[in-house]
Symmetry: C2
Subunit: 222 residues, 2 copies
């Protein structure tokens, strides 16, 4: 793989990796609107981060920009996609067809984000057999066979908070090694288990901080 | 305010602020399970970050730990809550009672996260008048009067992607100065407007990266 050769000796920091999806989204939008080249200054204005931050982040991967010439949007987007593994065709199942599961399954462009959703499961007999985002919801009781046969790479957990740890443990037993967890309680990463926990309410607290900063500025101005 | 006196000369970095909600959640859970003191080592094991990262982060606020004695969980939780502004009683409205709006309104403990949800709006006549999370959904056509009267501090945008920019512009015109945006397209922060954009699919891309790292490790071991 191209980027590994460039980066053999350099580990990309977690905070850069955290920012990559946002670069990827912006570059994808630029591509869709026909932009072929962009300077770090323009990209910086669009994304509201400093141009030097952008240059620093993108230099982690060998640097794609040329002084005074800007970035080639298409190459940079492709390269970031490759770094993120979006070209790997990873398969995913979704467990829990409640509010969060429905929302995520319905609104997410899985394929553009590197994944193929291959199954949706719930334990509620009223939901099993009904449709969700082009899938027929399957009975959670049959998930072990499904995993044995289809070997999905990861599971999206949109089960109730109290059920999450049990479900995760079962799925690990069945061979799942990666989780995207929306269940309002954290799943700890363990050896060989990749975890991404999403806490929607963290964004609420971050906004509270911004509001407080806003109030302080207003007070100082008054 | 106590922490401002301590921090008058020191601006807390964005990445520390981004991590504060997670500290707050962990400390709240510890408090709920009756833990009064915790060392940075124990907290580090629980949170899977290094003890030195924890010490560094918490030192930004003057430091609450004593060498060999650990952190007082209750004071630290209260102080982080204060730094985040969770004690300010900010008011919020939610605009858009679709899948995402229902999920967020139903699953979020607003008051524990510093906010009071005071109104839910949608423009769909079929939804107006129905109940959501203890609120009666109000007609979006009446939102200007509501804002003029109740002066909510911020709006949660769970409207369709295509509608987001128009809705945000209208609400800014009506006096809203802060947005939590779930609308799958970014709202740019402007002067005096606080914005927190949430992109659920970014977590999918981050997990893809982790899967790729996992694959590489397995390959190297084989």
């Amino acid at each position: 793989m191209l980027f590994r050769a460039k980066n053999m000796e350099k580990k990309v920091s977690a905070s850069v990796v955290n920012r990559l999806p946002r670069y990827y989204r912006y570059l994808t939008d630029l591509l869709a609107s026909g932009v072929e080249r962009i300077s770090s200054k323009e990209l910086s204005e669009k994304m509201q981060v400093t141009a030097s931050q952008i240059r620093q982040d993108l230099n982690c991967f060998g640097g794609f920009g040329q002084q005074g010439y800007g970035y080639n949007v298409s190459s940079l987007q492709a390269e970031i996609g490759q770094i993120l593994g979006l070209n790997q065709g990873y398969t995913a199942i979704l467990v829990g067809a409640g509010n969060m599961g429905r929302t995520f399954a319905t609104n997410t462009k899985f394929e553009a984000r590197g994944f193929q959703l291959i199954g949706v499961f719930d334990s509620d007999a009223k939901k099993v057999g009904t449709a969700l985002a082009g899938h027929t919801i399957q009975d959670y009781a049959t998930i072990q066979d499904f995993i044995a046969e289809k070997k999905p790479k990861m599971a999206i957990l949109t089960v109730p908070k109290d059920a999450m740890h049990n479900v995760a443990e079962e799925l690990i037993g069945y061979g799942i090694r990666a989780f995207l967890n929306f269940s309002y309680t954290e799943l700890s990463a363990a050896e060989n288990i990749a975890v991404e926990n999403v806490h929607l309410s963290d964004s609420l607290m971050r906004l509270s901080y911004k509001l407080l900063e806003q109030d302080k500025t207003t007070e100082e101005e008054e």
